[in-house]
């Protein structure tokens, strides 16, 4: 297995409340890893440690290592904006930035000064909108407010926006939970298409979605990793009693 993200002895607290306990896992490169577990088990917290979003919570504390390509992203000399550029996030609800559709996609490339001229931006905006499967729907209204899109379209716009800064990893925090079934299907399809180019980590609370997407599974309970491994093994032959109960829908 080609490891992309490796987590060593990771602990996290909100204030005094422990949220993650002794996490040791590996996320394989260019596959979809699904983190699952009952609500409140620390899935989202774990995900947020990968792009250093946990520190945005007042009073959140963290110890241990998160190695991306072997480098600990919590080292003091690490530039947090660089981390977040290379580890993209698709949030639970789409939040289009208060600007046009075009500028939403161009924003990230712009702040990181990734293109040299207007033509470069134009081509990339088109490319990533196509990649997110949104181009055909919005090409005629690129300069209208992004808030005018439907919520499903907004989520695909957020996907395009995230891909445009050329990340290595896509994190998805229940990225379809706010969407209608058709839009969800759209996003899932995109994620499957993109997995050959990006390492993907998805948090979900629906077992069926986990089964549709996962190459690799991490099952969490009460802030701990109970079981992790290739999807086929975990789903068909869980090693732990808790995992089995969860898969059978007992809690």
């Amino acid at each position: 297995m080609n490891t992309h993200i490796q987590v060593n002895n990771l602990n996290a607290w909100y204030g005094k409340q422990p949220a993650l306990k002794e996490i040791n896992i590996e996320i394989p490169k260019n596959q979809i890893t699904v983190i699952m577990g009952p609500s409140g088990c620390g899935k989202t917290t774990l995900l947020k440690t990968f792009n250093r979003f946990l520190e945005l919570n007042d009073g959140a504390k963290i110890t241990g290592e998160v190695l991306v390509n072997g480098q600990d992203i919590y080292q003091p000399d690490v530039d947090v904006t660089e981390v977040r550029k290379r580890i993209g996030l698709l949030a639970q609800r789409p939040y289009p930035l208060p600007m046009s559709i075009y500028d939403n996609v161009a924003y990230g490339m712009n702040i990181h000064r990734m293109k040299k001229d207007r033509l470069g931006y134009k081509a990339s905006v088109k490319h990533y909108l196509e990649l997110a499967g949104l181009w055909d729907e919005v090409q005629k209204r690129l300069h209208e407010p992004a808030t005018g899109l439907s919520i499903g379209q907004q989520q695909r716009l957020c996907l395009a926006r995230g891909l445009a800064v050329e990340p290595e990893v896509i994190l998805g925090d229940e990225p379809t939970s706010a969407l209608d079934p058709i839009s969800s299907q759209h996003i899932e399809k995109k994620l499957l298409e993109l997995k050959s180019q990006y390492t993907t980590v998805i948090v979900t609370h629906t077992l069926r979605q986990a089964k549709r997407l996962a190459d690799h599974v991490i099952f969490m309970y009460m802030g701990e990793v109970v079981e992790a491994g290739p999807a086929r093994n975990v789903f068909t032959n869980p090693q732990q009693e808790r995992t089995r109960q969860y898969l059978e829908g007992l809690f």
Binding site: F53, R84, R86, Y95, P98, Y107, P145, A146, R161, V165
Partner: protein, 287 residues
């Protein structure tokens, strides 16, 4: 079950409701009464001459002239004060939200802004006066502008802060997730999202500035001329009203009413205009 309308609690209910409705009508009625009084007294004396000329000789005895000096003076004073206040308020409001958040320094800054907001304009005027004495400055446009800037600062920051704080935190996170620095979040995202709020805040403060008399009384002085330099005194509309009312001549007092009408029209136009402008500026913002 049949309702007994004369049961005590239903009577109390009706009385309470009646009192509330009455209070509401008194409030709405006062506004109407004020506008009507100013209009009724001011309109007859309002002429083109009033707003197109400066005072001529004997103006305060009822002779020819107008209050162009005060209109221009007020616009200069309020614009200058608003510009300086904006230059300080905008970074402050953005900093409070993006960098400070709920930190304890942020709480101190907000508390002191609230306290400053409560300091009356006469105290700002007296403070400005001592400041100018210390610096050896005379009553001047510049002095008035600086004091108005101090007076408008807390009004503006508070108004902006209120809008910024209603912004969903996830929007900021969306930008951070793309690798933005806080500065980029502040200038590219928060600034855009709060544009309507900024417009409202600026116009609110401008309206306060143009209507304020007690602070410029000390610091800007009064003159019959249109100020030609920052270091010359400047007239202002509220003081024009006040001084003209102070004369014993009915013609001049009538002009004071007309001046009050002009001031009211300007202020109400700003208040109403800010709503319209804010709606226009909100095209791209997330609701």
């Amino acid at each position: 079950m049949k309702m007994n309308r004369f049961h005590r609690r239903h009577i109390t209910e009706s009385i309470a409701k009646g009192a509330m409705l009455l209070s509401f009508l008194i409030m709405a009625g006062s506004l109407g009464l004020i506008l009507w009084t100013v209009l009724y007294k001011g309109l007859p004396a309002l002429t083109w001459e009033m707003i197109s000329q400066t005072p001529k000789g004997g103006f305060y005895l009822g002779k020819e002239g107008g209050i162009l000096n005060a209109i221009i003076g007020s616009l200069y004073l309020a614009s200058g004060g608003t510009l300086i206040a904006l230059a300080l308020s905008l970074p402050m409001a953005l900093y409070l939200e993006t960098y400070l958040g709920k930190s304890s320094w942020g709480r101190w800054v907000r508390l002191s802004l609230d306290v400053l907001w409560g300091i009356p304009s006469i105290v700002y005027g007296a403070f400005g006066f001592t400041l100018m004495l210390a610096l050896g400055m005379r009553a001047s446009l510049l002095g008035g502008i600086i004091v108005l800037a101090l007076l408008e600062l807390p009004i503006m920051v508070r108004a902006m802060d209120e809008v910024i704080r209603r912004m969903p935190v996830d929007l900021e996170h969306a930008a951070l997730a793309l690798g933005s620095t806080k500065l980029e979040v502040a200038t590219r995202i928060v600034l855009r999202q709060m544009l309507p709020g900024i417009v409202t805040a600026v116009l609110l403060a401008f309206g306060r500035g143009i209507g304020d008399a007690a602070s410029v009384l000390f610091t800007a002085g009064y003159t019959d001329n249109i100020p030609g330099s920052l270091l010359r005194p400047a007239a202002s509309l509220p003081l024009a009203v006040f001084f003209q009312l102070g004369t014993p001549f009915p013609e001049v007092q009538a002009r004071a009413y007309a001046s009050a009408l002009i001031l009211t029209i300007i202020v109400l136009a700003i208040s109403l205009g800010s709503r319209w402008l804010a709606a226009k500026a909100g095209k791209f913002t997330l609701k």
